[in-house]
Amino acid sequence: MLFHAILFYTFAAILVGAALGVIFSRNPVHGVMFLVLAFFQSAMLWLLAEAEFLAIVLVLVYVGAVMVLFLFVVMMLDINIERAGDGYTRYWQLGIGIAGLMVFELIQIVLMRGRGADSGNGFAATPEGYSNTEALGAVLYTEHVYAFEIAAVILLLAIIAAITLTMRKRPGLKQQDISAQVAVRAADRIRVVKMDSERPDAGSES
């Protein structure tokens, strides 16, 4: 148990440090990398809580896909690093307000646990041969199948909306017709002509 506690506090400390790094790093690419580190650390915390499916999916979806696209966009930005800090002084009241609200909520949750509203004392021991993934799938595709499908359709809608909003057809656009390119055969492009040699004795030369 002590070993678990040591691991938990190590991961939690790195997580908090990485989260602070996201806020305070001047360079946006460094910020993105700190966020990746924070995702990894929270995945580790979930692993400690024996939620291995969620932990690995967190790494797969957020680190492997979302943050790659994020990094992609941030890399392309041309930010003047000296001027990027100006926002701090302009929006500090708003920032402190939001931070205060979040701290208040967290304290409420901790207090509620203290009053015994939630069992909260660790997790129920999992039976032998229990598979996180199977348990999640069994609930997701039976009890919550409508919520799951609706979420999927909303995501699809968002994709289509994003593409429709940014797609514009310009006149005179030149495009390659890939299927025509793939369908091309050698006979369409070159013609092999049989002709007699010009000189009568040319046959033996190469």
Binding site: V59, G64, M75, S131, N132
Partner: protein, 364 residues
Amino acid sequence: MKALLPDFVLNIWMSVWGWLPPLMQYLVETTFWILVVMITVILAVAFTTYFERKVIGYMQGRIGPNRVGPLGLGQPFADVIKLLIKEVIVPGKSNRFLFIIAPLLTLIPALATWAVIPLTDTFVIADINAGLLYVLSLTSVGVYGVILAGWATNSKYALLGAMRSAAQIVAYEIAMGFALVGVLMAGGSLNLGVITEAQSGGFSSWFVWPLLPLFFVYLISGVAETNRAPFDVAEGESEIVAGFHVEYSGVAFALFFLGEYANIILISALTSILFLGGYNSFFEGWTFLGEGHFLREPALLWLIIKICFFIFVFFWLRATFPRYRYDQIMRLGWKVFIPVTIVWIVVEGVMAWMQVGPWRNLAG
């Protein structure tokens, strides 16, 4: 063991071992096996470079390296020593920290994935339930090394290479993921050991037959994912010099190289395990050999033979095909592979549901 060590050394070792708490014993044992697998993989990488140069040499009517040691077998070590004693040049306007850690970020995921690979029917470092997901998530993390290397170098060519590589890896990862969905449907588990066990029973029960389209999609996506020819536009030496690693030299370059070849071996191993039955024998179905014949037993040797075959396929492709045009790569990934995998998953699901074909026993 007895022959190698004097008795008193063995006694001291045994008493120290018994005195350690179980947690420490576990940690020491796991670390030992991790080191064994890592060193084997790194040595395999060294000889894979030699293998590649020989294969491509013979395919192009040359002999390949034959100067260092017998048959040129010392060539990889000569290369390593050359790269180690070269200076690592860090460009002046680059981002120093990210420039240095980028090669490590490509290498580490490729090595860490070996933790869940079942090498024999009894040996795997970490026998975790979500093994297949772990593999998928770690291979998707490998792209950071390439992107960061391209950005941190602060050079046009490197940035172009990184962008190409990122777009390509993101595109082919989806097809790879869908191919894995097919495998996990057939195997009924995310655990790589269980998936291999599901393919026991001989040549005909390997997943490559019922999942043939997914097998090809996975293999080709693997080639694209590792940025190998004919999908090596990220390096594209004729257009963007060397892509993302244009400014790397010495050990930093060697790490990129190591990562690339470790990824090749990894993709070969995964293809063997997911589609060709992993450590299961080729001859398992040959009942006339008799019960318990050594050719029918599962062993590490079968896995190694399969891995070597796929590594050879990687080099064969490189020696055969010219480089793809970039828009054709994107088209192949998004418009060909992803629809093929989705259709095959639907086919597999419907067949399992209707209780036909090889998945008759699946819908339980």
